[in-house]
């Protein structure tokens, strides 16, 4: 696959799909399956669980979908390269803590603090990307190490103390809802989805990211500087993880070191679930931006439904693990199917 192959494709379907009919493309898209599953889950839960469709319930589910979408997008941005980033949680927390420090201790204005925190996340992503490219070691190992380093340094610098004095606008944004039920965080994540979709579909950088991920050697021959592109992918991951950290800060009104669990590991499951369910290929070269959104939506709707059904919280976690396993196996099957059909 070359960069030009991808120029005219949707974000989820490479050029060969252009030869398929619209119906076939829809039927084979993971998004279509997800929409069906979401519709089915909503119908079942709405008809059996009183309260599921209450404005408060819809607001909180939507807010969590917004956050999980952002976490999923962060991982998706690096899965494009055929790699992964285990440090997304650590980057998100570090960025949120940096934001908290800027707000509480450094007196940085909010309008400046937000972009600086996102840049900080991108900077941590740059470190990951640069080391991966320079060393040639798989991103799994590099980010496993950086996860501990980032988190450890953050705990050392902050003494594990939360930053709790935030401008009221931060919490206000987390609580903001449209029409009584639509969370501003959800709307924001959809805006980011649209921007990312445009990046991959319409920009040279986005197409180069896909090309470098699909076949680095071919991309290199075609003039793509894959090293720089991979670093850019890691930076994008860092920036998106930082945004996710800021969204959680907006939700809680505080930057808390434990917001993503120990070493930021609590983000790993949603980070992989959403993009893999959504149709992003783990082997790289293919993204599904809105699929990631739909994946996050499906996971959260089912999680909320199970909680409302009073399925034990620990069983919910086990269910999510099963879901990831199923998604990975489906990913493998889809990959083979697409190969057989000459679509990748």
């Amino acid at each position: 696959m070359t960069p030009s192959d991808i120029t005219h494709t949707s974000d989820a379907m490479p050029v060969a799909a252009g030869r398929q009919s619209l119906v076939q493309r829809l039927a084979f898209s993971s998004e279509f399956g997800l929409v069906l599953l979401i519709a089915l889950a909503v119908v079942i839960f709405a008809s059996t669980l009183p309260g599921f469709t209450s404005p408060f319930s819809l607001f909180t589910i939507g807010r969590q979908i917004g956050i999980d979408t952002m976490i999923g997008l962060a991982m998706m941005a690096v899965i494009v390269t055929g790699g992964l980033d285990l440090s997304v949680g650590a980057i998100g927390v570090c960025s949120a803590m940096a934001f908290g420090w800027m707000m509480e201790s450094a007196g940085v204005p909010l309008a400046l603090g937000v972009p600086l925190a996102v840049l900080f996340g991108a900077g941590l992503g740059f470190l990951n990307g640069a080391i991966v490219v320079r060393s040639g070691v798989h991103s799994f190992i590099i980010t496993l190490a950086s996860m501990s380093i980032f988190f450890g340094v953050m705990i050392f610098l902050s003494q594990a103390q939360a930053f709790r004095t935030m401008p009221p606008e931060v919490l206000g944004f987390g609580k903001l809802r449209f029409g009584g039920l639509l969370s501003a965080l959800l709307v924001f994540s959809l805006v980011v989805c649209a921007a990312l979709s445009a990046l991959y579909r319409f920009t040279s950088l986005g197409r180069q990211m896909l090309a470098a991920g699909a076949n680095p050697r071919a991309a290199e021959i075609s003039g793509v500087r894959t090293g720089r592109i991979f670093i850019a992918c890691h930076m994008l991951t860092g920036a998106l993880a930082a945004i996710a950290g800021l969204m959680i800060t907006a939700r809680t009104g505080a930057a808390v070191p434990s917001m993503a669990g120990h070493l930021g590991q609590d983000w790993l499951l949603p980070a992989f679930l959403a993009p893999v369910l959504g149709g992003t290929l783990l082997s790289g070269g293919r993204v599904a931006v809105f699929g990631t959104f739909l994946g996050a939506a499906l996971v959260n709707i089912i999680t909320s439904g199970l909680l409302l059904m009073r399925v034990g919280e620990f069983w919910v976690q086990a269910f999510l693990g099963l879901m990831l396993l199923a998604a990975v196996l489906t990913d493998r099957a889809r990959h083979k199917l697409l190969q057989r059909r000459g679509m990748i």
């Binding site: 594990a160 709790r164 609580k175 939700r251 809680t252 434990s258 917001m259 669990g261 409302l308 919280e313």
Partner: protein, 342 residues
């Protein structure tokens, strides 16, 4: 039957008799939600069930977030409100970070108490009921210093740094040591070890390196207390004095066998039971008295001490009575001093 089970049963029976009230058909649905899985909170489950039985509360369910993580707890609380729970007893995952979700619960018709740990004022929680952790750690350290003969070096093993109580405990232990004018020093504070693996790792490493240099150990979290008691038993060292916390059987047995000097008991059962009672009363039309005798701590000015008591070898078999007495007094005090009911 386990001693703790007998403890709960006897305490519940006594408290029910003391309350002397039977409520029928209450629509109060209480959810008791800790910050995450931890043995300290296990007593809340029985407390909720007993409160349902004794006071006729609609529900008193113990619901544990799957991880010790603020977002997980917030998500669970939101779900519980949707499920129809209207009264919440919450151990805050964060002293400030939990407030927004509690505010949402209140905005949507719920009511909440902070239990076992406080939210930082201003807070939508009605009040905070828990151990006066600073005072408990202070008193425990004073007992340790007494056991050490008033001089020596102590180590302090404590809980999660994200727990709002941890810093209060660290400060209190230091304060007790400072009052000896240098005769007692805190040689090391090891925090964030209220889980089996880090507790085993760090306490054993500490003792391997410093057993000869340390004279006393004070623990202010459940798991470190159990681990340190086990470690002292393993190395067979009765020279090092130790004061633990809570009523795990390992600690109580170590007290009886002389490896631990004593333990500072807390009252998790009483917190859950009395907290459920208070929330039901408030939903039934009672109000909180304006002149209620609140205590205050570093986080809030509306604090109710759920009680703490030092237990040594002489009381190791009768500590249940001590806790029962504290709970009984507190329940009576709620009716008399804190609640105004028509």
């Amino acid at each position: 039957m386990k001693k703790t089970t007998i403890h709960f049963a006897l305490t519940a029976a006594t408290l029910a008799l003391t309350a002397g009230l039977a409520f029928a058909g209450s629509d109060t649905k209480v959810a008791l939600v800790p910050g995450g899985p931890h043995p300290y909170f296990a007593a809340w489950e029985q407390a909720g069930l007993d409160a349902v039985k004794d006071f006729g509360i609609g529900a008193g369910d113990y619901r544990v977030p799957q991880k010790w993580e603020l977002s997980q707890q917030s998500q669970l609380l939101e779900s519980l409100l949707t499920q129809g729970y209207n009264s919440f007893l919450i151990f805050p995952g964060d002293a400030v970070g939990t407030s927004p979700v509690v505010q949402e619960l209140v905005d949507n018709g719920g009511q909440a108490l902070a239990l076992a740990g406080c939210l930082k004022d201003p807070t939508p929680a009605l009040f905070c009921m828990g151990t006066d952790t600073g005072n408990s750690a202070y008193l425990g350290t004073k007992e340790l210093i007494k056991a050490m003969g008033g001089k020596g070096k102590i180590a302090h093993f404590t809980g999660f740094l994200v727990d709002p109580n941890t810093q209060l405990r660290i400060d209190a232990v230091q304060k007790a040591a400072d009052e000896t004018n240098g005769a007692v020093t805190v040689m090391q504070v090891i925090a964030d070890i209220d889980a089996p693996q880090p507790a085993e790792e760090k306490i054993n490493a500490f003792l391997a390196a410093n057993a000869a240099g340390v004279d006393g150990i004070v623990t202010t979290a459940w798991v470190p207390a159990v681990t340190a008691a086990n470690s002292l038993r393993k190395i067979g060292d009765k020279r090092i004095k130790m004061v633990g916390i809570d009523h795990d059987e390992v600690v109580i047995k170590a007290i009886k066998d002389g490896f631990v000097s004593g333990t500072m008991l807390q009252n998790p059962y009483g917190q859950g039971y009395i907290g459920s009672y208070v929330l039901d009363k408030l939903r039934s039309g009672c109000t909180i008295k304006a002149d209620a005798p609140w205590k205050s701590n570093a986080l809030t000015v509306k604090f109710v001490d759920s009680g703490t008591v030092y237990v040594d070898a002489t009381q190791a078999d009768t500590y249940v009575d001590a806790m029962r007495g504290i709970s009984k007094t507190l329940l009576a005090s709620m009716d008399k001093d804190f609640l105004a009911c028509k």
